[in-house]
Symmetry: C2
Subunit: 168 residues, 2 copies
């Protein structure tokens, strides 16, 4: 990863470019490390566990949500996964083409699409998820077990704060 430059060095360079303007360096460090961590974990799992099944990260998240909550509406998948409906449509077309999910229009509400796993998709998840979870476990292996709960809480608080800012 970075490692090239220390945090102190970075702070000095920022101040040199902005004069005496006040900058929230603590917040900067959090978001910077947030994206590094998310990227690192994602790339690692994509290169290892997911590559064996030719799945992208988002494709896996879609399968996971459907696996747990099927039958589930598209709208819910997008919310749970944290991506847009437009992205979801494309990913689901790929997954449907590979015979891992099915989409059927709801008879109760013609606007909704209900998504389920196929037998093939279910079989894949049953085999894949334990390996995926081992990867997750490894990612936090160097942290104190005791810290994991509050760590998750901090992350969740950031999400809640930011999403309360939405204008719609």
């Amino acid at each position: 990863m970075a490692g090239q430059h220390t945090l102190d060095e970075t702070e000095r360079q920022v101040q040199a470019r902005l004069g005496d303007l006040q900058i929230d360096f603590e917040a900067m460090a959090v978001t910077s490390n947030l994206f590094r961590a998310a990227n690192a974990v994602r790339n690692y799992l994509e290169r290892t566990v997911l590559a064996e099944h030719e799945l992208s990260w988002t494709a896996f998240v879609v399968l996971w949500v459907v696996w747990i909550w099927e039958p589930v509406e598209s709208r819910v998948i997008a919310e749970e996964g944290g991506f847009s409906k437009a992205t979801l449509t494309g990913v689901m077309q790929t997954l449907e083409g590979r015979g891992l999910i099915t989409r059927t229009r709801s008879s109760k509400d013609g606007r909704l699409v209900l998504v389920k796993l196929t037998a093939k998709g279910r079989k894949m998840m049953k085999q894949l998820f334990p390996d995926f979870n081992k990867g997750e476990s490894l990612a936090v292996a160097d942290l104190k077990r005791n810290d994991l709960g509050s760590f998750a809480d901090l992350l969740r608080a950031v999400t809640v704060t930011v999403e309360s800012q939405r204008t719609n």
Copy 2:
């Protein structure tokens, strides 16, 4: 975001599908919330601060790294930003086309490309970064100021752990 289903519900559903297989639910909660948070912050900043300057997240990261460390080699930008060289090439073509950066081949080592900001790029960053930082500040506004340091450390530890797993 999620909110639809509680963590307990999710755990029950996972166990129902995997029988008595042991799952690290704490690690699962951390990675799940890690991606939700990163996605939420990224989408928020893209929709607000970055949209005003027609910049994508990655484009901003590239500009930021170059702003701080110019002149800087492409390789370093990719490492600092946490994305691949292939991605970087495309983004830099866009930025160069908009007259925000310049690329010149190193005279000392013909393999390297040195990247700098143009005056236009520098002006944009000086105006943009304070607003961006306000967004970062807002994202952690509901957290105790005291927790920010250890929060950043936890995130960094995850990155270090995962990246030590790389095979190359």
